[in-house]
Each structure stands twice: as structure tokens, then as C-alpha cells.
Symmetry: D3
Subunit: 312 residues, 6 copies
């Protein structure tokens, strides 16, 4: 077993390797002056069981191409099996054809990974569960939900209500509500029929006098999360917190979230959260141990389902 | 262009062909005494643009194998292009790996269709939109939603509320609510923490004094629909109706639905609804014209998106 | 090594497992009320060498789809190698295009098995040897011929003649004749040129005063076998017995065979023979040991050819 | 439509082109001094419907590689469709795995043709019908049987009997017997149990006082055909003739056949029969018209089955 | 026929479309705030013959992913044929495995293009001709050489010598020398055996008193070109000019080239040359007409070879 | 591990096996009288790591087909991994499309090897390095260069100059020049502009008074090598020797080389050099040890790059 690491989230890979007690595989990755990505594996990998950790961090296309080139180099260097470890899956939200003549890019990514030679995929909290079906190779999907739930239940759940930021998130929020034993509510966002540019926010379910926890799979621009917090406060919630797996936090999201009604925003380290992104309201939980344990079990041919039930 | 017809829903195919003004392609299909399905195409198809209409009616595996054998026979008989027309897609609910070591059978079906030689797929209201991504060949998904909405709005929408029968249907119900300009509510079903075999039904959102319309993509055993109607009445709804695209109506569903709180249940003819299934409460809308128009446009290379906006 | 078992022939699988001293792999298989087949593997199979035993018993399409879904579930659960064990191969007689625009369904089945992810196939007495060429994956074909020959030679071969029920079976019958050291004859069946609906049966070769043994690969409706026995008795045979590998015995074949001129009909248990099929004239020989030994050798990477020479 | 021609049977291709009224496509084929085959297509083929005629004449591997290189050159030169026209299919007798660890080379040939880019295949009288199933691309198999039957029935069939030279040919011979309305017999060849190197020939069926016509699909060394003639004469046949589609006539077969008991040997020109092979006893019938008509119909998308019923 | 345009070189695409008298296909391309590339084709493309022009400009990975997503969107929108038009091929220099465990990325790019659904490729002056062999789909390679040669011969070739900047370019330079009827020389660059960091430049062939024209396929950092000019002047060349097809001009190459010994540097517009890159010494020739004519001929199924002989 | 051997170069295979201390795998290969190649593997290979040594010796197409059939037989006999060992790669010079409508046959060979089931390739000194990119399976390319260099440096390099026989060989010759620390020169061959059938040979670089060593990858007809020697002597070289990896020596090349200006011609045994080819001027170096060591390391999963650095 060897673990190689793209340039998207070296910190997480280091944590995973520390947990497993192995060293990161030696590998040179850089860009030539002509902007071409170059990869050279610096260790013998013939017949080895290889894991390549690369999350879909910004710049997204560079992260993806870097991964594809690493896989290609490893396969042609006769690696026995290459597992692409994708803590945050690339183009995860492009998972359907909701407009004419658009690409289901999450599916294209699956095809590209298979074309490059990936033998299996290990990932976390896909935007929709159906994405597993985009692959012909085996996919294991870890869930950070149990980690998030553990954190919130450790802080007291009295008077709490789980909130979905829109109808599309209802299913996801309901799972959190079940695990935590809490009631749920949903934000219903509509365009005003009188004035098409104005949006009306309506909460379905009871939140008045309650402490709300808004759950989503990722926070990108944060706009939807911030609108939800605002609507919850207006509807009488006494406190608003957020939980999400993937902390993309693009553009001025960190600054705006820090100024928002949220008291606390709990995320994981599937994506690097550094520099200006590390706002005071953010609580970052690590998924390194979960990935480490999954890698160990994949390598040893032990069941992962047991692991899911432990951490889900 | 030629349209061939499996044995699952000849009535719908006849309607489609009538709309298009073409005859159904000649084809012998039967089972030998050894239970093997036999297909012989009785017309020259070399270089032709072929459409095979086969819905996933019970017996499901027979319907699917019959389709695969038809496609194989057509391709080896040198058809130029074979489009599998699947009004109700086989194994549509097996679209994710929500338990360990289960098959994403909707994806397997996609693989089998491609292995048999299908060049494209035309289908309707998939359980999840991501299923389109299971295919490498082009897929067109028609939506019967506009047909259903048209029926309900033609009957007055005063005091109405759209209801999702569970959190997983919230997104789907929300789309109906938007088109109809109605508020929405969701049924939240939980196990009683004190007695694990008892289920507690709670309505999120306001339904008291309102006329409820429950929307789902399909009605199979009807249990979830019936529970929803019951909970709605208990919570003060004045009237309950249902709208669903695919009328599977398996087992004693027809009898139980007829006895239920529903005043009317509106479905389409993507699946054959005959014999005992034709209960008085059922209103069946035809999708033949929508399929016919789509087939015409695919054959002529005209845009289908225009069609979606017309009928969605 | 693990052996899983579809629902087509559990008795044979139990015998194979008993021979090998292993337990049948745990697996849930049932049909939902909507007639969809559901499979869940109940044991960890990561990196394991898996054998799935499923014969093509009636209902044929259910047996096949069940097998495909099992293979898909096993492969996506990361089984290292999945061998489809098919004692009776599905659609084995659809092995050629003897009419225009029909499917070579035995080939389509090969494609479907490969699409579902099967890594190899173990089967018995294919209707034609060329079917092995339909696969890109390795196929091992066991022959029950030696088992059948052993039974007949144990009962004395004096004055016996081997009979092929038609010209297409001549090659097959000749192999039995060689092994048993017997002469052979062939039934020549023609339409009467004067009356097209009447068939004329003519025996090529000498059978008068001899004890005939009719060999075929399978008995389905039994009509051809019964006609042969009738023609043999008319041409002076003193006794007629039959040997065949696959006992499909569909429709009223059991009743008609019991009433026929045959003194004894010897078959194997590649297909389940139970209930009304267990007529007194039937002698059932077990192939469990042969399959068990083949599975053991495949798993251990030992030669199977040695096994063929022992049992052929 | 354009027809290109390998170097294996230019005479037949010329006849086909004459029938169709087209010129043979311009193409340079030669071997470099280093024994590498070189092909350059000398006409624009973009978007064209191309037929490449190449029979499996000796030297067999050169003929095959020449064909594969031609197909590759045509596809990369953007031909729209390339049909490999194989009057005699390469390695047609290697169609099963009748010994351990041998190649089903007829299947390998199918894979190589597909790998090189062939879109379809047109061939004649395959050794076994199952070979069609070795392909994923469409295959049309012409039958020269009707041409052979026409010749024999034109010369009187009184007192004739059709003879199969071994049990494996019984099915084939029976079809000739049916079409010609003749009885049939079979040569049964066994090793002498007392002296393993001696073979005993026994005729099953009546041939005494009859005029025998031995049918087979091909004549290679001629040994089996000559043994059959000898056994027929010994068993009282008054006259022996032979009919076969493919005239390989390798080694000293021509000389030995000329000296044999056959009065006449009727073959076709699927393979070139020139020089010493043109022995006086040989009657060569042309298949050019049949191939020409098939090519025309394939190109025009008209049914070939009609053609089969005319000529079969 | 429709021509779509990525964001890498809109100017060239506009010129091509102007030459062909067609409008650029409507298409929305942008990046979401989360850095994901989004593409929506804004016109019906069913059954159409589509050309997508995208050169491998910096940022290289964004250009490539944008192209892959466009192709995917077009194919799933049922385009009949998609030709990827790549004036400068991505990762063209990564065409061999000259170090252990590196990726032949130019080959990976071919695999990715095929995985995304490209049907054919049109490109220009590949770094090595073998790259055409990386594809299974047809590739047409245009050559800008004749355009460059035409420019230089229009300016007088007296006393000129063609120079290859290294041994790897000798073959390429020789072709220019042949067409222009000039002698050639080669720069031989070695490490000083005494001091490994120092490089020694030696000119093989005569350049003293001659006017040198250095030819290469691309100019990236310009270092090798500048060294060559310096060595040529030191060895007595009276004048130095350069000709190259692809003007990457990365980093401070423009500034350094302007300061170099070159009197003139002639390139083409396969890559956008704008802003600071447009240094006075640069002469830019357009390849738009050549691409336009090639696209027209591909669309009409006319020969391109004729075009090569005209322009090569 | 087992090593099987085609009929192209048994002597080299014996040397390799002797080095490795293993016996050649048992295998029957012959041609039937109908010119069909037949292969039967005579040992169990289930789960084994197999190497098949077959060089592209004349007759080239027979060598290739023999190899493809061996691979097919081995894979269907359940070999775990089959490595095609190709000391001289078939059709290695057909690696580009330098004329319209020709086949890149070296790429076709790659496709055929993959279609037959090869898992990896081990070869030596490909004509161009890009050929590695023709494969999706891993390829290891050994270099005999170090063996050749070792021989020449062992004989003194004073006053020597490395010569490339044409511009296309300049890169290759430069590598020899670097390793040996020698200057280089290139033969420039042009058609006389006054008389198109006359060729003019010009040496670029200094050779007068020097001992020339001409390097190329292969010697086929020897014409180019002989012309080079002649031009070198005319330009004042005092001595001419040649070094080349692959000794094809077709036609009357041996006789002409023996009569030529070369004092010594150094080649390897990648191809059999026997009978009349063993001219006195030829020095044959063995590559057996290099192949043996590579096979050992591939089998044991050890790095080959280390081996390259030792021998390159």
C-alpha cells in the first residue's frame, strides 16, 4: 500500500498518513512554464496497491487534470490497483440535465477517471446518492454525517429543530433529524408573482422559540445559507447554527458568513480551509481518521459497511 | 421510421402510432414451451430509424428481456438506429446504493440496454434525474407533470395545498407547487422512540381547512399514499386528491385505494391500467401525444426542448 | 472462496457445497410487490473469489435477471473475481441465426453476463461447442457424458445401438457411440411430399432386434424423443432407453414420457426435477461432484483438463 | 459505394464488379523487402460505403493481415462504413475448444476484424452457423447450397443418395437431401479396437446400387472425401460424385482427387482455383452474382432474406 | 454544419467562420463562483455535423476541460458527429515516456477526448507525427509549413541556411530545407564534461557568412531559440530569423525574444498572440483559411490530401 | 512464471531461459496443410504469470498471427497475466501517417495485441519513442544502446565521430554521441534539382581524418547504411563502422554489406541471424541477459528503471 497526494489538500493527506503510520509516496508535481502539469512518481509502484488523495479544490480543473495525469502515470508504471480518493468529488452538483443541452459533468468526470485508469473510487457525501451509479468501477461513499451529529449532540439538543435550506435538501435534513431525534422544518423560497425579481421566503414547519440547526452538504457562496438564517430569525428562532460537510467558501463567503445570523458553522476538512477562510465562527472537524480507516479496510479486503454503521 | 412494440403496453403504442399516422412494425413475439422468449422481426429494417416501445410492466423481467432481445435482433438485422422508448423505466427505484452490497439495478439496466445495442433512450419522469447520467448514449426524459398540472388547474385550485408524501418527495412536490402557485406541506414519518413498530405521522406545514393534492412519481402498493391521505384528514384537510405519473398499482392497491380517503387519483397510461385496476376513483390521462410528438422530433432531428417547455 | 446461490436450483448448490465442505454464502433474494427482483449480499466479499450458481430454470428470464443482479451487486461490493456457474446455460438453443432478423440470444446472454461484470463462466454440455466462442472471458465447459456413459455401461451393453434423434444430433450421438463402443443409427424426419402436414420417420442404420439408447443434450417438450422411440419400436428395436443431460421437461412432457415406449430415461440434476416431474421412468444422476471438483480446481488454479479426461 | 480488392482472389472480385457495373477501387498493396505488408488507398473514401473483398486463400496469415491493414487504412481515411467481404472465412474450422488450451481462432479473427474497424461482414457457408455469434457487428452469411443443388438436379437425380462424410457433416448433408428430395447415408469412421492405427469405415444407411453424392462445406487435403468415395464403392455404390463450397485443395489434393473414385467434383470459386488445381474432374461454379447482388442490397438497404430464399 | 467556439481563441474562430460564411454557434460558457466550468449549447444540434474549435491556450487545463464538457454536452444533445478542432494540441510535447513513471499525457488527452465523445480530430503540426496513432478515431493533421515557407521565399533566399535548434528538430528542419532548396545546419548542445552546469554550443554544418533561418514547431520560453541565435551569430551568421508554428510565448519570452539576435520571428495564430506578446519583431501569419477549407472538405466528404499538397 | 516461445527466435528464448534458470513452456505450434496456424499449450497455466517471446522475424505476418493465437489460447486457458515479449516490434516503421490513406500499422498491431488479450508488452529500441503511447496496457521498452556503446568504447574511441545516416536519425545518433562523448555528423541526402533521379549526398559536420561510427536502430536492405559509408569515405573518413540494434538483413543485404566500406557491423540478436546472414563483418551482441533480468523484475514487481540506468 502506498498513498500519493495531489496538491489540493496536502494537510488532510498528512493527517491520513499519520493515522495509518505510513509515509506519503514520493512524487514530483509541478507546472511547466507553458502551464502544462507535470507528474513524475519517484518510487517503484509495480504490483502495488495505490491510493491517490486529491480533493476538488479551487482551481478545480487543475486539481482534476493533476489527478488524471497521476493515475495515468501510476497505471503505466504497472501499479496493481489505483484508488482515487476524492474527499470532495469534482463537479458534484452537475449531476443532472435540468436544462437542455448541458453536460452531466459529474458523469463525465466518472468517464474521465475510468479512461485514465482508476480502478476504484473512495469519496464522501456526494450531492446525490445516484452519482455512485455513474461508475462501472466500485465506489465507496463515506458519510461525515455521524461526525457532524456527534458534535451537535455533544452540545445539547434541547428545543432544537433541524432545518433544510430548500426542498431539494429535505431528504438530507430529514436524515439528520432522525439521527438526532429532532423535528424538522423547510425553507420554501418563491419568486413574488407580482414582482419577479423579489423572492419570498416562507418557513414550512415550526421554528418559533426554537434553536435551529441548518444542514446542507456544502457551503459555496453561502447565499442560500445566509438567507435561511435570516428567515429563521424573522420567524422567531432563538438561535441559528449550521452544519455542512464540504467547505468551499468561495468569493466573499467567509466574510459574509462571519457577519451573518449564524452563531456557529460546523464543517469538515474535506477541502482546505486556510487563510481568510478560517473565520472565528467556523468549527472544523477532521475526516482524516474516517478516510484512514476506510483506506486500511479497502487495502486489507475488510468490510467497510461496518465502518459506515459506526460513523454514519 | 418504424415503431415496434413489445407486449407490455400495446394500447399506448397503438395510440402513439395513431397520432403519428404510421402502422406498428410487424414482429412475432412469443414464449416457447421451455419459457424462452422468441422474437422475429417481420419487416426489412436495414438502414431504418427504429423505435421500440416497451414499458416496464409486470412481469418486469420478461418485459426487460423481451426488449433486449428485440433490440439485439434489430441491430443484427442492420437497423441504422434503435431508440428504446421506455414510458416507465425498469428498476427505476433501484437508483442508489443505500444499503451495503446491493445492486444499483437502474444502472445495470442502462448497461444491459447498451450491451444489447440500443442507440438512444426516450423515457418519462425518472424517479431521480440523475438516472440520465447512468447512460453513455443520449437519453431524452419527457415529463408528464404539465399534463397532470393542466388537469388539476382545470378543476379549480382555491384553498389547495400541495403535499409531499415524504421528505424524499419534497423537491418533486415543490415543482408542482410552483407551477400551480400553491403552498406546500410535507408528511414526516418517524418510528415511535418508545415502541419501534409504531410509526408516527406528522404534517410539516399547514393543511387544516385546505384541499390537499398529494403528488408522487408513482403509485405501487399505495401504502404510503394512503397513510398520507389519512394523516391529512386527521390534520383537518377538507378534501384529498392524488396525482402520480406511473400507475403500477400492484397487489391489492386498487381495492385499498378505492376504499381510501382520496376523492380522486389522477394517473397516466405509461403503464397499462386494465381489468381490476380500473377503479372508479382513477382518472387516466394519456401521454401518447407527448411520446408521439417526441418520436417525430427525434426522427426529424428537431429540438425536443421546445417540446418540454410546451408540456412540462 | 465463497459460493452464492440463486433461487433456481438450491438443491444442487447444497450438494456442491456439501462436497466442498463449505457453507452457502448468505444472501437475501426476493421480489418486491412491484415484481422487481431484489438482492442483498449479506457477507463481506471484498477481494474474495466468488462463485454464483444459477441454472436456467423456468421462469427463465427471472433466473437470468436474478443472476445478473447478483453479479452486479458482488462486483460493486469489490469481489475480486466472480464466476457464473451455469449448469444449464440460458437460451442455449438460440445459438444461430437460422431465420432472418432473429436474435442469437445465447450470444446476447454472453454480452449481458460480461456487461454485468462476470469474470468467467463454468457451464455444462452446451448445445453447440461454438457457444464458448461467444465470450471474451474464459469459459469452462464440463461434460456429463461420462456420467451418463458410466450408468449405461454398468447395466450391460449387449446388442445395444446408439441412436441420434435427428441429423443435428448425429455428432453428439457418435461421441457416445465411440465411448461405449456401439454402432449408431439416426432418425431421418421428413415432410411427406404428397401431404405437407404429415411427417415421415425413417431410420438410417440397423436397429432391428437391437436395444436402442437415444442420446440428446436436453429433453424439453419430449416430442422429438417420443417420436424417435415410436419409430425405433416400429423398426424392430427390442427395447428403448434415453439419455440426456438437461431435464427441462416442460408442459406435459413428464406425463407423456411416462406413457411413451421408453423403458428408462436417464438425466442429470443440472435443472431441478421435482414434484410432478419425478416420474417413475426417470433416473436422475448428480453432477454436483463434478461441479464441486471443477470449482475447487478453478479456485486453486489447477488444471481442469485432467478432470475432463476423468469424467468425459 | 466502392469495392476494394485484396490480393487473394482478384478474379472473383473482377466478376463481382463486372456484375455490378463498377470499377475496382484503386489501391496499392505490396510487401516491402522487410516482408512488411504495405497498403495505400488511391482514391478519396471520406463518407463512402466501402466493401473490401478478401478471401482466406493461402498464404492465410498474409491474406488476413492484408485485410486488417486495408480496413485500418480505410477507417482512418474516414470511410463511413467498411464491410469485410470474406467469401471463405479465415480459420473457419477453429470454431470450438475441442482440446484444452487451444484458441478458438475463428473468434479471435472476429475480434481482430472489429479491432481493425470493420463495420460489418459478408461471408459464405461458415463451417458452423454459430460463428455468426462471434461478432458484435452485423454478419450476413450467403449460402452457395442452392447453386450446388441447381447443378446436380440439372443432371438428373434418379437413384441418387446424399452422403455425409462423417457424423459432424450429417446436419449439413441432411439439408442437401431435403432440398434435392433424396435419402441420405453417413460414413461412420472408427479406430479398430484391436489395432489402434487401423481405421474401419462403415456406411450407415443404404447405398448399394445407388449413385452417391458426397456433400461437405470444404475440401482441404481431400483425404476424408477420398476415403468416403472408396467406402461407398466398396459398399456397392454405382457412381460417386462430390459437392463442396470451398475448394482449398492443399498439398497434393488435386492429384489425389483426380486419381480417386469420384467421377466429378463440383466446387465454387470462393477460393482461387488455378494452375495445377484445375484438374479435369473439377467443375467450378461462380458465386460472383450472389455476392454482387448481396453487396447491392446491403448498399441500398434492401432485404437480403429475400435473396436467401431465392438462392438457398 | 455548425461551428462552436471555446474561450481559448475566439479571434481565430471568427476568422474561420468569416471564411466559411457561417455564424459561430450560440453557446454559453462561464465559470461558476465555485470555479466549476459551465457550458450550455443554445441551439438545436440534433443530427448536425458539429465542429468545436478550442486551442490549448493558457490556462491549459481550463481550455481542455472546457472542450471536454462542450463535447459531452453536444453528444448528449444528439449531435451526429463532433469534430474537435485543436489548432494547438494539448500536452503535445508529453508524447513519450523519456523518464520512468511519467505520463504520456498527449496520449491521455486522446483517451479523454474519446471518452467525452469526440468523433474526429482536426489539428495542426503535431510535435511528432506518431501522435496521430494515439487515437482510434480519425485524425487530420494540417501543416502550416507551406504558409511559413511561402513567407520566407517571398523575401528572398540567397545565402540562406536552415538551422535546427537541436538534434530532435533535425528531421523537421530538413523538411523546410528541402522545400526551400537550402542547405541545413544543426545546433549541438552538450554539457561541459569539466563543469556540469555549463553548456557548450556547437554548430554542425556551415553557417559563416550565411543568413540563418531557425525553424521549430513551437516557441514556449524561447530559451532554446535565443541560445541558437546567439551561437549562430558567434559562428559568423550574418543574419538570424526564426519560423515556428505555435506561439506560446510564455513568461517573459516576448521581452527576451525582442531583445535577442533575431531580426524577425514568424509565427501563426494557432494560439492567441495579444497584449504584451505582440512584440515588433513578431510576424503573425493566419491559418484560418487553411482550417476553414479543411472543415468545409470534412463536412462535404471531399479529400483533404489534395489540400495538403496545395498548402504543405 | 512461465516463458513460452514462438517459432521466430527460439535461440534467443533459450538464452533468456538459461539466464533465468527456467525451462521453456511446453507448447505445440505448427501449420496445418491448409496453412492455418495451430497452437496448443501443453501445460497448465491457470493463474500463472506468462511471458511469450516472439520477435517480428520474416515471415512477419506469420510471426504476428502465431503470437496473437498463443496469447488468445493462454488467456482463455485462464493465465493470470500475459506479457508479450517483442525483441523486435512488428511493423515498427509504420508509426505515422506520412502519406494520405495509409495505415499506422504499428498502432494497429497494438490494437490487435490488446484484442487478443495481452496484458503488457516488453520490447526493445522502438523506431520512435511515441509508439509506447499506442498502447493502453503498460509497455516497457528496453534499450540495447548501452550494450552497443560498451562494445565500441571497449575498442577505443580516439578520433571517432558518430554519424546519423539521415536527419530522422539525428536524435538517435546524438544520444550515442553523448554517451560516448564524441562529436557527431549527419548525412544529408537530396534529389539533384537538375536530374530528379540522381541523389546527392552531403555530410553535415566534420568527418575528414576521423573514424566514423554510423548508428541506426535497424538494418533492413542496408542501402542507406552503405550509401552513408560511401559518402563518409569520399569525405575523408579513415575508417567506417556501424552499430544497429535490429539485424533484419533482408534480401541480398548480407552480401552487399560484406562488400561495403564498413570494417565492422555490430548488431544484436533481437532477430535471428543465421545461415548466409552470418557474414564475417558482423559482430552479434546478445540481449538475452537484459531481457532475462527485465522479465525477472516484472515478475517480482521490482523496478525496471534501475535496470535502464544500468544498461541504457
Amino acid at each position: 500500500m502506498k498513498i500519493f497526494c495531489g496538491r489540493s489538500n496536502p494537510e488532510l493527506t498528512r493527517e491520513i498518513c499519520a493515522f495509518l503510520g505510513v509515509e506519503i509516496g514520493k512524487c514530483i508535481i509541478h507546472k511547466f512554464k507553458n502551464d502544462n502539469t507535470f507528474v513524475r512518481i519517484e518510487e517503484n509502484v509495480r504490483g502495488k496497491d495505490i491510493f491517490v488523495v486529491q480533493t476538488s479544490a479551487i482551481p478545480v480543473n487543475d486539481s482534476l487534470m493533476e489527478l488524471l495525469i497521476m493515475i495515468d502515470a501510476l497505471k503505466h508504471a504497472s501499479a496493481r490497483r489505483v484508488t482515487a480518493v476524492l474527499p470532495y468529488y469534482p463537479y458534484v452538483r452537475s449531476d443532472k440535465k435540468d436544462q437542455p443541452r448541458v453536460s452531466i459533468t459529474a458523469r463525465l468526470v466518472a468517464d474521465l477517471l475510468e479512461a485514465a485508469g482508476a480502478d476504484r473510487v473512495l469519496t464522501m457525501n456526494l450531492h446525490s446518492e445516484q452519482i455512485q451509479g455513474f461508475f462501472r468501477i466500485p465506489v465507496d461513499q463515506l458519510l461525515a454525517s455521524r461526525i457532524l451529529c456527534g458534535y451537535f449532540s455533544g452540545n445539547g439538543l434541547d428545543d432544537c429543530v433541524v432545518v433544510a435550506p430548500d426542498a431539494g435538501s429535505a431528504k438530507r435534513a430529514e436524515r439528520y433529524a432522525r439521527v438526532l431525534g429532532l423535528p424538522m422544518a423547510i425553507l420554501d423560497k418563491r419568486r413574488d408573482p407580482l414582482n419577479d425579481t423579489v423572492e419570498i421566503f416562507h418557513i414550512i414547519g415550526d421554528v418559533a422559540g426554537k434553536r435551529a440547526i441548518v444542514f446542507d452538504d456544502e457551503i459555496a457562496t453561502g447565499s442560500s445559507m445566509i438567507e435561511t438564517a435570516h428567515a429563521l430569525m424573522k420567524n422567531g428562532a432563538t438561535d441559528v447554527r449550521a452544519g455542512a460537510v464540504h467547505a468551499i467558501l468561495c468569493g466573499d463567503a467567509p466574510r459574509r458568513l462571519q457577519k451573518s445570523a449564524y452563531r456557529e458553522i460546523v464543517v469538515t476538512n474535506t477541502l482546505p480551509v486556510d487563510g481568510e477562510k478560517r473565520i472565528p465562527k467556523l468549527k472544523i472537524l477532521s475526516v482524516a481518521q474516517l478516510f484512514g480507516e476506510a483506506i486500511r479496510r479497502i487495502h486489507e479486503g475488510r468490510s467497510l459497511s461496518e465502518l459506515f454503521s459506526l460513523h454514519q
